[in-house]
């Protein structure tokens, strides 16, 4: 069974040490919610796991593949604070590029994914005209069609309406039921069942 192993991780931002000797393991089908106050290092942890930041010490592996290796990065999808959209492109064009960065997907699948996330009729709309929640939905659509097993979601519910949050929660549950795993942070109430909490 695949699992994400975090071993003796240490992270420093500027002069403050955010965490040291952080060890835990996330197995397939598990949902982990990382909790902590503002500035406690939740985003830094997720960025290390995503291969964007580098840890001071320790190591991160998924199925024996070390973070930042191609095999590892292929299994990881990182959803950051920003929507990762270009204002000049339409939602479909943005989605096409974002999914091409992971795995190229047929156009019909992309259009379907936009409909599923509640953006029916917005495929050709320039992203500059979308609301914050709608922008968020475009990158969520690319998350849902990616084949990555490890989902690292930094505040995935930001700017979403209750209906949108429901969709994301059900997709996380579905992803984990299919053998994936998910780490996320949120300051909102999450009603996801079986979530394990890890406090920083």
């Amino acid at each position: 069974m695949s699992s994400l192993v975090i071993d003796k991780l240490e992270c420093q931002r500027g002069y403050s040490q955010l965490f040291t000797n952080l060890c835990f393991q996330v197995n397939a089908q598990e949902v982990v919610r990382i909790t902590g106050t503002n500035g406690s290092g939740k985003t830094s942890l997720l960025k290390i796991l995503a291969g964007i930041n580098t840890q001071e010490q320790g190591c991160v592996t998924f199925d024996q593949n070390v973070v930042k290796s191609d095999a590892y990065q292929q299994e990881v999808f990182y959803l950051g604070h920003q929507a990762a959209l270009s204002a000049e492109l339409s939602s479909l064009e943005n989605l096409e590029f974002l999914s091409a960065l992971n795995q190229p997907v047929a156009r019909e699948v992309l259009i379907q994914a936009l409909e599923d996330i509640g953006l029916k009729g917005y495929a050709d709309e320039p992203c500059a005209n979308l609301s914050a929640g709608q922008k968020r939905r475009v990158i969520l659509a690319s998350l849902f069609i990616s084949k990555a097993k490890v989902w690292l979601l930094d505040e995935p519910f930001t700017a979403l309406d209750p209906k949108g949050i429901k969709i994301v929660e059900s997709r996380i549950a579905q992803h984990c039921a299919n053998g994936g795993l998910c780490l996320f942070t949120t300051h909102q109430d999450s009603t996801l069942p079986n979530q394990r909490m890890i406090a920083l």
């Binding site: 964007i52 990881v76 492109l89 992971n102 320039p126």
Partner: protein, 221 residues
Amino acid sequence: MNIYFQTLSRDLRIALRNPSSVLNPLLFFIISVSLFPLAISPEATTLSQIAAGIIWVASMLAVLLSLNALFHHDFDNGVLEQMVTSHHPLALLILAKITAHWLLTGIPIILLSPLLGVFLFLDEQGIKVLMLTLLLATPSLSLIGSIGASLIVGIKNSGMLLSLLILPLYTPILIFASSAVSQAQFGLDINSQLYFLAMFLVLSLMSAPFVSALALKISLE
């Protein structure tokens, strides 16, 4: 390889929908070159002597002006983060962005240069060599420029920093390219200059995407 063309077409599409970002450096190029005859002298003998230098300096500054935007938007909206976390080699994605940058600034500069050469009374041989040096060296300008652009991407108000980082690396190109044109005007052999520019292009093509990838990763942390 597919991702290379997808990134390239994405960047071209963004630029075409926001043409002012592409046109500004080109307008700067045209305006700055066409002001020299007014300021110095409208005489053919004077102008034809300094034509190559003027056009080369102006094109270099125009490229420098356009470099700020190379990674800036993708950094602000978070697309760079997605590029770094993707399993595709970052250097390949950056090479695609550099190619798009060259197609949008280098190529128009090459195409405009004969017209500006005529403005400045450059003879036929001079114009030919000018275009050839631009063709050989503008890709190097984009490639080397990407290193500077990726180093300053996270820094606010980095205006002067990019020029300080990049211009010293540009000067050898400027020296060899403009001397090629002026030697050609006297009917002298210019092979050595062209070989140097070609060497510079191969060297920067082989190293710049990798160095930029490394610099971008550091900037994102």
